[in-house]
């Protein structure tokens, strides 16, 4: 087990160009994720998030670059990588023909946790205890033996997470896990993930296009058109991206412009004047002006505004 703060995921100059594509889906991406970190890859549709996660989980070969998961090379030693990761895919990957328990059993045997047995009652007591605990956690009880078809979307997602954690992976990849879920199911899923994080040292790697989901991460990597455009903690990104400014205007605009220049204040003219506060308080700025103002307001953009500004082109 790598010590905390050691990178558990290392991505270097990752490039992926799909066959017949005229541009790179992932274009020179590099980042590291530390053990136990909650890392969010944020970006609009088509930014390259799913492509990145597919390469990291060995289901897709990169065009160039290097990926190490827990020290194992994702291309040269993919089996070692797969043993260390759990994945919740964008589209549910539960077999609807099987029961919840059968899906869990299928996974547990594939990962070599238990030997193959055709029936639940023939499985080792340890497995049956684990399933019973999981069913309790999900509030399913005996319903875990019912076909997955009869479960709600939110419940299926939780079942996938439980299944993905059965083999105690070092990294849990979540590829837009709340896509298609209603608000209540989303909330319940995040509460459950919080519990998982509190209970284990599992590194969580999330891809999402919802900013509110990424905001609770330790670090956010914003991806756009296959490139990393920002990387840092939510606080760092806010500090870097969110510039508060004062919106002012006057009937005598020439005088106001001259006065702003004289005081050495940074401003833009976009109809009214946008005066960057940049460390000054709004009150100081207003106090220093003699020109009579006709418009006065403070603009404080949210992280969402900043994010939309970054990826605005891609969203349109």
């Amino acid at each position: 087990m790598a010590p905390v703060n050691m990178p558990v995921i290392e991505v270097r100059d990752l490039v992926k160009r799909y066959r017949k594509a005229d541009r790179n889906a992932v274009d020179g991406v590099s980042f590291e994720v530390r053990q136990g970190e909650f890392f969010a890859l944020l970006g609009p549709n088509g930014a390259g998030k799913t492509t990145t996660i597919s390469i990291l989980t060995t289901t897709l070969a990169p065009t160039s670059g290097r990926v190490l998961i827990g020290g194992a090379d994702a291309i040269l030693d993919s089996a070692a990588v797969r043993a260390q990761v759990g994945i919740i895919f964008q589209k549910p990957s539960i077999d609807l023909n099987l029961s919840g328990e059968e899906n869990v059993r299928f996974h547990a045997i594939l990962y070599g946790l238990y030997p193959y047995r055709p029936l639940y009652r023939m499985m080792p007591p340890e497995y049956r205890r684990q399933v019973s605990d999981l069913a309790g956690l999900l509030g399913l009880g005996r319903d875990i033996f019912k076909p997955v078809k009869k479960m709600s979307g939110g419940m299926t997602r939780k079942l996938e997470i439980i299944r993905g954690l059965m083999h105690r992976p070092r990294v849990l990849f979540l590829d837009e896990p709340t896509a298609g879920l209603d608000a209540a199911s989303r909330r319940s899923l995040w509460d459950y993930l919080k519990e998982v994080r509190n209970a284990s040292e599992t590194t969580i790697f999330l891809t999402t296009h919802y900013l509110d989901e990424a905001e609770v991460a330790d670090r956010i990597c914003i991806l756009d058109k296959g490139k990393v455009v920002k990387l840092g903690s939510p606080e760092e990104l806010k500090a870097e991206l969110l510039q508060e400014y004062l919106v002012i205007d006057a009937r005598d605009r020439t005088r106001l412009r001259r006065e702003l220049e004289r005081r050495g204040l940074q401003f833009r003219e976009a109809g009214p004047f946008q005066v960057l506060l940049d460390g000054h308080s709004a009150q100081d700025v207003i106090r220093s002006l003699d020109t009579e103002l006709s418009v006065l307001r403070i603009h404080a953009p949210s992280l969402e505004d900043a994010y939309l500004k970054i990826v605005g082109g891609a969203l349109e």
């Binding site: 089996a79 990761v85 589209k91 539960i94 059968e102 070599g112 030997p115």
Partner: protein, 259 residues
């Protein structure tokens, strides 16, 4: 051991799915009746005397080969369906060999196909196809090999097809001609010269001929019905299966990861 457990669990999933699919189970019972009962009976009444051998036995061996081969091959194609429903990702991100996954599918779909062979055998007994106990006992392992070959053929086809829709369109083109080239319903002892190479590369030809070699062994019509001796058929089937499985899996995995 881990790989063996994985193979068994992948295989058992297919059998479980069959047992829960009522429509497919009903179709399984009706299918042999249509071919062996209706077609065999009709041909026996009209052509049996002229051909000089038991036509129901001929049709039974053909339909048995076709059922096992086609069912196993089509079952394997369901991996494409899994891929489209993203269930295959669950398998392909697990730390087991790709060959184990595909072999598990081959085993599972072979099990499903063998299940479908049971009503074919029952109907054959009811129609008094001359199946002695030694012949029956020899037909069981031969049926398993036929399933393996069909599944291997499915792997090979799957490796070059991208979508379920493409599979549904292409599969009949690679399967239906084999019904005639392999002699399911029609004798192929004599073929026009231009069909001979197509018949020889038609995989279905070999399990069907193997069944006929076993059913007609020691009978006067053997030389008029059977094309190759059973051991030669088995050797060809083994070689084809190995080729299909190794290259098919390699291409399939390559296609999965090198998109």
């Amino acid at each position: 051991m881990k790989e063996l457990n994985a193979i068994l669990t992948v295989a058992s999933r297919d059998v479980t799915k069959l047992l829960r699919d009522r429509t497919r189970l009903v179709f399984t019972l009706v299918f042999p009746f249509i071919f062996v009962g209706l077609m065999g009976g009709t041909l026996q009444s009209n052509l049996g005397r002229a051909a000089g051998f038991n036509f129901i036995g001929f049709i039974f061996t053909g339909v048995l080969g076709m059922t096992l081969f086609q069912s196993a091959a089509q079952g394997i194609i369901s991996l494409i369906d899994d891929r489209e429903n993203d269930f295959s990702q669950e398998m392909f991100v697990s730390p087991i060999s790709r060959y184990s996954i595909v072999f598990g599918k081959v085993l599972g779909e072979s099990g499903v196909s063998l299940f479908q062979a049971v009503p074919t055998f029952l109907l054959a007994f009811a129609l008094r196809v001359p199946i002695t106990l030694p012949v029956f006992l020899a037909l069981i392992p031969a049926s398993v090999f036929a399933c393996f070959l069909g599944a291997g053929f499915g792997v090979a086809v799957m490796s070059v097809i991208n979508s379920q829709r493409a599979a549904q369109q292409i599969f009949p083109f690679v399967l239906f001609p084999q019904f005639f080239l392999a002699g399911i319903f029609n004798p192929i002892k004599v073929l026009p010269w231009y069909l001979v190479p197509f018949s020889l590369v038609s995989p279905l030809r070999y399990p069907v001929d193997l069944f006929r070699g076993l059913l007609y062994a020691g009978r006067p019509e053997y030389s008029r019905v059977v094309l190759l001796d059973p051991l030669t058929n088995l050797a060809v089937m083994g070689a084809m299966f190995a080729l299909f499985l190794i290259f098919g899996t390699w291409f399939f995995v390559r296609q999965e990861t090198n998109r």
